[in-house]
Symmetry: C2
Subunit: 349 residues, 2 copies
């Protein structure tokens, strides 16, 4: 069976092509091509014959040929860090649906948060002749953007927004988001705030969030001490361990701000394990608003990010660019703060 495929690919009796259809219908290949793209451009008589021939022969056009001749692959690429994080899988799904409705197909790769790998994947996509490309984040070497420039295809960076962004982008300001969160956290009386976050060196969104946190604290005359930050992988267990590390050092924080909901869930569990009451003794804040956030015990306060909207807006931007339509290239989406039971006022000691 396995062998069959290999053999058959090579020696396959040249599968039916446009010329076979043309011959069967007694027309030229050009007419078949015209029929394929816009049936109304050929006469009814011819139309029927071509249609019949296509059905008869089970003709499936070969897009590689088409791509070569028309310089359009009708493929759009997307590279996301991972599909294990629901925010990206949701984004990709919506992206794909919108592309499909416009006749494009999705070439998908994951970078696993590895810049090196992301670059290689992008290169492969360009080799495949993608008509456009969606990326996550903006932090990458200049060779990357130069490569895109040379390919001169539209691309967009997502989960990033700044009015003055150098590149087209679609997202929100992580800095502003966290600034606002922490402003409110301080307002609730918290002074000793711990942070559980992903690794900032690999991910520009994490760095921006930290910046926002620091900014807010500074404005309130506070400072984010190094021993109040626990860097962690984006897993449930790592979140719990991160809290454990935080608790080992100095005075216990009254609030923990987390880089995402998975980490926050881990923190919640670890807190329960240690008999620390949430939110009475410890307030916990997530980020992302995964479906699970509201189901946790206690329900998790978090920041709702519009995952689907980002996927859709990215698709819309790229499609507009491809079709030559005028379109906004710095797209801000709304986030929402969801205050649930996991977060409360600072306990007065």
């Amino acid at each position: 069976m396995a062998v069959k495929h290999r053999v058959s690919r090579r020696s396959r009796s040249r599968s039916v092509g446009i010329s076979d259809v043309a011959a069967a219908a007694g027309v030229s290949t050009a007419s078949v091509s015209r029929f394929m793209h816009d049936p109304m451009r050929v006469s009814p008589k011819l139309r029927d014959r071509v249609e019949a021939a296509i059905k008869e022969l089970n003709y499936i056009p070969h897009r590689a040929g088409r791509a070569l001749a028309s310089r359009q692959s009708l493929i759009v690429g997307a590279i996301v860090p991972t599909l294990e994080n629901a925010i990206f899988s949701r984004q990709v799904m919506t992206f794909q649906q919108n592309l499909r409705d416009a006749g494009y197909t999705l070439l998908l790769a994951t970078s696993e948060y590895d810049p090196e790998l992301e670059f290689r994947q992008a290169r492969v996509m360009l080799e495949h002749g993608v008509d456009a490309l969606m990326l996550v984040g903006q932090k990458r070497g200049s060779e990357f953007y130069e490569m895109l420039e040379r390919a001169s295809i539209p691309f967009i960076t997502t989960w990033i927004y700044s009015k003055n962004s150098i590149h087209p982008c679609c997202g929100f300001s992580h800095e502003t988001a966290m600034k606002r969160v922490v402003d409110y956290v301080v307002e609730l009386g918290h002074r000793n705030i711990g942070v559980v976050t992903g690794f900032a060196n690999v991910n520009d969104r994490v760095a921006a969030r930290l910046k926002g946190i620091r900014k807010a604290l500074k404005e309130h005359g506070l400072e984010l001490m190094r021993d109040k930050i626990a860097y962690s992988e984006y897993t449930f267990d790592a979140g719990g361990e991160a809290l454990a590390r935080l608790l080992e050092k100095g005075e216990r924080p009254t609030a923990i701000v987390c880089g995402n909901d998975i980490l926050a869930a881990g923190v919640l569990t670890e807190a329960r394990k240690r008999n620390i009451k949430v939110p009475e003794e410890l307030s916990v804040m997530g980020f992302g608003d995964l479906d699970i956030a509201a189901q946790l015990d206690p329900p998790l306060s978090t920041v709702r990010t519009p995952k689907a909207e980002i996927g859709e807006a990215a698709a819309t931007y790229l499609l507009n660019s491809l079709e030559g339509r005028k379109t906004e290239s710095r797209i801000e989406v709304d986030i929402k703060f969801c205050w649930r039971d996991s977060f409360g006022r600072a306990s007065k000691k």
Copy 2:
């Protein structure tokens, strides 16, 4: 900006191709091609010149050309129902990683559980000349399989397993899985068992699970009454509503068996809302073992399915087929029953 792309695509000063490289290196295109595929097949002197030319010109080979000439796209397709369900996004991610390591790229589409759409997506993939295809489930019209047959590419159906499967497959028997679950549930003393499940008419795995449930009950002299089944969308809220519907009818079940963990989570929440104690008054069983299962309150009993393993095994099978290696085409993966606090003995009334 938008316009720029369109214009530039059409009028782009023919980007650098293999002949440019050949010219720059003072060799034939054949030699460049040889160098690309196996540097050792050209002399060291020539090798250096070609390598330099490629760097110099930033040459990026165009795979459409290659695909046309070599009859290999180096693209593999995957169609899954959705990426919103973590089992599929996990599977896809692993699938993609394994493909990438072998030099293939992933073309991805979702069917949204719509057979019609799945068929169209599959067709598009064949148009793109995918070298192989991964699908979910086996229930589809014969035109579908005939189309694949004509394309004569290897494909595999996943989340399905049967020794005697007509098509290559990789998964487990949903029927056996649920039979074993229910056998045990009955052993725990449950006689009045409710089922919250997805829609069986669109999904062969759901149907198989129901079959397994019925079979187990029958062996124990029980029967699955129609009013003990609640069909539901695969969402959290729908799971809760499904439980509500079940409770409206007749005597309250002592156990609820769910089609997946999301539904089960909804059931759990609805039960709490109604002050029904889990597991004392109502036992709840999920399916799939998502990360959240163990975090729910109480921790959810469920069936662990090897999502990554399925993605990997599917990739391995397809790659083996493509490379002409002998390979098992009916692959069974192990599932594991996770008994956690949400499930207990039937209460004695």
